[in-house]
Amino acid sequence: MIRSELIQKIAEENPHLFQRDVERIVNTIFEEIIEAMARGDRVELRGFGAFSVKKRDARTGRNPRTGAAVEVEEKHVPFFKTGKGLRDRLNGEG
């Protein structure tokens, strides 16, 4: 399923809404999650999962081609942990 198919499904269930409003609603949800993580916040959606930010320490990496040492700066990466409800559903328990 891709974004446009998700929008389509929501639009079909809500015939009283304009398609463009459904697009704005769906986009707002994903945008809000990214903005939260960009601030360093967590987004916890019970039964679905939690989006959080993990810190990766600075390290000395290597260019795999030349073997030269390169300093890699500290960085922050997005992380998603599947919620219990969804994990159970994937395994047919719920």
Binding site: M1, I2, R3, L6, K9, I10, E13, N14, L17, D21, R24, I25, V26, T28, I29, F30, E31, E32, I33, I34, A36, M37, A38, R39, G40, D41, R42, V43, E44, L45, R46, G47, F48, G49, V53, K55, E74, K75, H76, V77, P78, F80, T82, G85, L86, R87, R89, L90, N91
Partner: protein, 100 residues
């Protein structure tokens, strides 16, 4: 750097502000977006949200695990796990926003 935890309430508040539906209907829409994603994943589908990320289901084979406390061997049944791969846009925005 923030350390707040947002919930469904914050997402429906954002929808409420953006579109001007009632708070109740905004909450229901957030719920149905999550439900449709869960349904697709439970059916084994990959969910690809452009400029956000990709949720995909992986099959894991059976293996012998160990209870870390007792050292006892326990069989782990084959199971399905979910992985999320963030888009480049998400990675870039999260990295930029949290840079000191």
């Amino acid at each position: 750097m923030g350390d707040r935890t947002l919930t469904r309430m914050d997402l429906s508040e954002a929808v409420f502000r953006e579109v001007g539906l009632s708070r109740n209907e905004s909450a229901q829409l957030v719920e149905s977006v999550l439900k449709h994603i869960c349904d697709a994943l439970a059916a084994g589908e990959t969910v690809k949200i452009s400029s956000f990320g990709t949720f995909s289901v992986r099959e894991k084979g059976a293996r012998v695990g160990r209870n870390p406390k007792t050292g006892e061997e326990v069989p782990i049944q084959p199971r399905r796990v979910l992985t999320f791969r963030p888009s480049h846009l998400m990675k870039d925005r999260v990295a930029a926003g949290n840079r000191r």
